[in-house]
Symmetry: C2
Subunit: 479 residues, 2 copies
């Protein structure tokens, strides 16, 4: 493999091939510190052409390849295993905004561009790129594509899949597929684009993308609403959607446990109510213009919701500062969770209408698995997506809870399955959930995925151990 | 094959297996009367389970299968060839609305449901299903999915792909894939759904789907706008989008030639202007409420557009009747074209910013190929999608023009290729365009499609001769 390392250095320059353990550290340990791997080399190409040559060399050598963007995966999706065999392909040097087309409303970028930089470039051109999530200051577009990122604006704008028009991909054999088309409509064959989106680096490496831009929303209105529970929150969602249509851009739910945690652990998080409600929703509207009218529309809808018993109290933000304070309550939850100790985390989705039943049944399952454990439930209600975290019971030791967590997760995921849900709404399967794939997918679906994998990566060299269990039958074709 | 026909009769009942030429006629001749095929049998299953058993029997017998919905394809996508070997699988008996979920905003339907019926069912539930196109009274959801249908509301709501959450599919080997999930977010593996959408019946048979519903837009405003040309129309699009954001639901462009044709050939089509403009745009806005405010918003934007020289005249509809009259001008074009004689038709897309250049260059190519031929250009400008039809030069005979048409089409499609466009924006490849696939796709892309086809349909029995040229190399895996 030394000759491979030499060849990689010839392609990208010796400075961009990291082989010393110290240099490799940030590339082989995931962001939560949960997975620690090692690598034959970390390679940092500077262009699509260099990626092509790197992958051709890896193909030649039969090397394992682990593609990596901002390395912010919450499921260990871009961290190599401990074998030391993998070439980690880091794309962060590829950070060019290639083109902005304000007429066609598209932006073409290198896959290594950081999400926040793309948002900013769109804004500078008087446009809006809506993908928004906690890691936006570090995560890259390539990673967003590999994991089909979600975030807080999916309700209105869709996931990364819906925001993408075209892709440039280097295949495991080093050939480049140029699907970098800026077309709104193209019905001329199978959607290869959609096969690569969400494939978590297991089918090749996305090196560039054409993304959709939108008119910049110049008016915003936000409210923090106390609700009696999840059923009421769903009723509130229906009222707001009916009244506000597409203006509704975020509808974020959180329980009393979340609010209690965040106000205790995050210094600048303050509730806009006198007492702790059973649950709360952060509602955000946006429009091209007319901020006063927007706030009034939101207020009217909320007054009606209070009268209908769907909400107990509501505060409409008077200005941007107050709106940011509301978002601080929502976004501080993850931070508060870290400070509150280890939690068993789940990123699930169920059909929107079944969310209340899901929370009830999952709560019962948690209580049986770990009596006294506290579910910390928040998420994107309009998408049916809940971050269902479970905090250690105060009576249990860290060790005892860690030992009980896998069984607890299994129970929670059983409830997900009962409601035809997904065990990964937006974080991806990665290595965190790969062991659960056989439990949550039908044998036929696994067989099809396996066969598709084999078409593109016959030797299963790309991101092994992620998404697809390595021992899956690689049958092909389907018979 | 007689034993296959007997078996099919056992599965679906003898009444639903048509073998007589007279009975088969509507199933083997396409809607434009361009393709006339024949079939071993036309089979009309009544349920997904019957589809499964029919396909298992066809698999066993090694029979060719041609899936068919409303049989309204404009590219011969669902018409069998003349060999008489095919089992035509017509899904129109499968027309149940399975479920409407007003909380989750989803509708689950049989694939054989007619589109207009689905729109109506949504409306009855106080919701809105936005897919809308000329054939909506006959085309089925399964066909819409197979061709990834577009239509007049793509600008705001996306194509059929974006409107779909889950699918139920019977594979060529008779196994059923249950992907009928009603999830807004699900990142747990490759998107099989998106592989089947747009695959034109070549990978299996879609038997059911979960579709997205939206709040019903209760307010609408429409305007008919005279513009100096396509460049100005694109400028107008930018102004309207900037001012109206998501309220913009349709932006339909048509040239003077279209307007002249439609007013001459369609009895109730009347221009709202005194004289014929160089081109016109039909703009439609919609919102949850506030019709007066919506009309005012549209008016203000149009006044500014006129002042900026982007529009020459504009009439905002005073009521629904006038709005329908505007739509009649747009929708009458196809009818007028039929009456005006044979046309060479093209359904192309290019990046929005390149549309004006495309029209100029295509016009020059047409003039060279068939001097005096008249391009009749209309389409969904906001999507970069033009229906680029070319009417016979008055001096040429029908025969001479028919003989010149293939070369003319090649020239037009060369211009499409030069602008990184697509030769099928929304009608699909079918058999009409299958011969052009090698010219418009890279060898690598064809190889990948071919390999994916082979995974799902190893014997290439499903809808042969459509989408993928039958002589394509069926290599797999990619090496």
């Amino acid at each position: 493999m030394n000759s491979l390392v030499d060849e990689l250095a010839r392609v990208v320059g010796a400075d961009h091939v990291l082989t010393a353990a110290g240099e490799q550290a940030p590339y082989v340990t995931d962001w939560l510190g949960k997975y620690r791997g090692s690598a034959l080399a970390v390679v940092r190409p500077g262009s699509s052409e260099e990626v092509r040559r790197v992958l051709a060399a890896c193909h030649e050598a039969g090397a394992i390849v682990v593609p990596q963007g901002g390395h912010t995966s919450l499921s260990g999706g871009a961290t190599p295993d401990g074998s030391g065999n993998a070439v980690v392909l880091s794309l962060t040097r590829m950070n060019r905004i290639r083109e902005i087309d304000p007429i066609g409303n598209t932006i073409t970028v290198d896959a290594g561009c950081v999400l926040a930089r793309v948002q900013e470039a769109a804004r500078e051109a008087g446009r809006f790129f809506p993908l928004s999530l906690g890691a936006e200051g570090s995560c890259t577009i390539g990673g967003n594509l590999a994991a089909n990122a979600g975030g807080v604006a999916v309700l209105r704008y869709g996931t990364m899949r819906e925001l993408t028009l075209g892709l440039e991909v280097v295949l495991p054999d080093g050939r480049m597929w140029d699907g970098l088309k800026a077309l709104r409509k193209d019905n001329s064959g199978y959607s290869l684009r959609d096969l690569f989106i969400g494939s978590e680096g297991t089918l090749g490496v996305i090196t560039g993308a054409v993304l959709k831009l939108f008119p910049e929303p110049r008016a915003r209105a936000a409210a923090f609403v106390a609700v009696p529970g999840l059923d009421a929150a769903l009723g509130l969602l229906a009222v707001v959607r009916e009244r506000c249509g597409d203006r509704l851009t975020a509808f974020e739910f959180m329980t009393d446990v979340c609010l209690d945690l965040v106000t205790r652990h995050v210094a600048d998080a303050r509730l806009p109510f006198g007492s702790l409600p059973a649950a709360a929703v952060l509602v955000e509207l946006s429009d091209t213009d007319g901020e006063a009218a927007l706030a009034e529309r939101l207020e009217t809808a909320l007054v009606d919701a209070v009268e209908a018993g769907l909400a107990e109290d509501a505060v409409v933000a008077q200005d941007g500062t107050q709106a940011r304070a509301f978002w601080r309550l929502r976004e501080g939850i993850s931070e508060a969770l870290v400070r509150a100790g280890k939690a068993a985390k789940h990123d699930v989705s169920v059909p929107v209408a079944e969310m209340a039943a899901f929370v009830r049944e999952a709560g019962a399952a948690v209580e049986e698995s770990a009596p006294g454990a506290r579910p910390v439930v928040f998420g994107h209600l309009g998408d049916g997506n809940l971050h269902y975290n479970v905090l250690r019971p105060e009576v249990a030791s860290e060790e005892a809870f860690a030992a009980a967590a896998p069984a607890l997760t299994r129970r929670v995921h059983d409830v997900v399955a009962r409601h035809q849900g997904s065990i990964s709404a937006e974080h991806g399967i990665g290595q965190l959930r790969v062991g659960e794939m056989s439990g949550c997918k039908s044998p036929l679906e696994l067989e099809l995925m396996s066969a598709l994998k084999t078409v593109l990566d016959p030797q299963w060299r790309f991101n092994p151990g992620k998404l697809l269990p390595p021992d899956m039958p690689a049958r092909r074709p389907v018979e």
